[in-house]
Amino acid sequence: MNRPIQPTYTLDKVGEENFALNLGPQHPGTHGVLRVILHMDGEYILKADPVLGYGHRMQEKIAENMTYPQTLPYVSRMDYLGALSYNLAWVLAVEKLCQFEVPERAEVIRVIATELNRISSHLLWWGAFLLDLGGFTPFLQALTDRERILDILEEITGSRLTYCYFRFGGLPSDVDEEWLTRVLDFIKEFRTRLPRYHDLVTGNVIFHHRSKDVGVILPFDAAGYGLSGPILRGSGIDFDVRKHEPYSGYDRYDFEVPVDQNGDCLGRYNVRMAEIEQSLRIIEQAIGSIPEGPVRSKVPKLIKAPEGEVAVAVETPRGQLVIYIVSEGGKKPYRVKYRVPSFANLSIFAKMARGQLLADALAILGSLDMVIPEVDR
């Protein structure tokens, strides 16, 4: 019999007001099946033990037993909010392994779709973070705009959440002018709606009190724990895979990497809000410079990878995703390793939660932008 391993509840320090609080797996503040055992002293947290694996699906092992195209729609199940980034990473890895060419038009459309996906992910995070802080209205505001992105992406990908749009060597279908103008219309309208977000939340005094100087991550810790994405940049370290190890032609676009020196929840908030604007800029430039031509190069029907190993890094909405494939030749990979951002980002939570109030711990967890299936894989 395989029994799940039960973590112990032994408290480090037993006092009259000490108790263990089981936060999750079903808790509105954990956004998924994350379970954290909190050792509490009244409202203060003495120690936090994250318990992972409720959604473990053996993604890596499954990838070893499936062909490269079969794994393609499955990778996006890890980070369902940034599905296109995963889609892109897998496609890029296999293309690098098999040395497939990608037409330029396909690359540009990939960037447009991925950045739209990034905005929708950040919007959902914005709403969910405010939900963690007890504000309900922002969530629905964000979802109203996110809905429009989903509509736009649905038109080209056919699905609304776990997209599978990219193919080895390009795209399954081209986009038309109408779709591109639709994206531009969205950007134009969204730019008028973004200031409302700031009016409602960013300038709010309660929000500032809840997020400023809460959950500070020092740059030293941020690098040491292997954090990435907006959390790393919120701690003052300027690193973005799109900028520093460009892929899919990101080096062609003029965009900034927002960095905040404070390292607190507000810093991470500011970074993500600025990233939304940068993503809009990238999409505008991409649509402005989209070349004509085919969207798919010639790729053999049966994909047989040569022997070798390959690693590809992609900036997902949550941070740096690395897909590492070892191939011994043939239709299936020998070994696949996903280095997922959420897993590394969660690792610092135990350190940050120590000594905090329960309310602050949930604000910190919210600011880390967890996607639990990505952590569990």
């Binding site: 939900l131 007890g134 709010n204 809840r210």
Partner: protein, 316 residues
Amino acid sequence: MNISLLSVFGYLVGIAALVGLNAVILVWLERKVAGHMQFRLGPMEVGPHGILQTLADGIKLVSKQLVIPDEADKPLFLLAPIVSLVPIFAAMVPLPFSETVQAWELNIGLLLIIALGLLNTLGILLAGWGSNNKYALLGGARAVAQILAYKIPLLICVMTIIMMTGSFSLRDIAIAQKDTWNVLYQPILFIVYIITVTLETNRSPFDFSEAESELVAGFHTEYSGMGFSLFFLAEYSYMFIAAGLATVLFLGGWHGPWLPGVAWTLIKIYSIIFLMMWFRWTFPRVRIDQMLSFGWKILLPLSLINFIITAGVLAL
């Protein structure tokens, strides 16, 4: 005092109807206000503009099983919603709706309402303790922890008004504002009052004892069916009483042009309730320690200074 049994019965029925009707309207209003603030419509299905939605929900809640957790302290668990709700019936008694419409003119009506308002916290604490759930307990403990931080500024607010009028009777206080409403003399006090009352009724941004994202559902985590709805009934009734008190203390009670007194009272009460809903659907939640220091360091000095200045002006 000449109170016949019949009139007592009449008052009770009237107040029960008021409590029930008020909750039905407020739950619907809250969902509508929330909906429109979030670019949606809110309930639309049951009745025109979903006006009967609360009734349908009420029937569902009544017909549901009241689940009592195994480990719960059963008597306390069952007592808590009742402790929370019953004081409402007494607290509504001295509330004047117009010069003539008042259940019972009581010369210490104001004190009665303030005192009975505290019993709600007892209900929350009982629910938190009786549920034998850590989240519920935390919610109950939070409710108790915040009492002093808001009750003292609230009492000083009320004291200032009493000092200005020279009476504990709500009717006298309203009559004294025939020409000028107190809010014009005491705008700061009015703001302090609204904040403390939002705290007292456990409304967002001060809904610590519920705090959905932190404590799941706080003190009523383990309640279902009727127990849950009694808490809601109590919350909305306390909102009504708090707004009613604000109307009498600051907004001149039933005084107003053209419309009859009762209409003016209700308009003012529901305007204040709308304001409280507006808070709830706009602000994120304050952290409990920040709220405590806000209560002690800002609300208390503010109301005290106001009290002293008012006393000085009155003495002159």
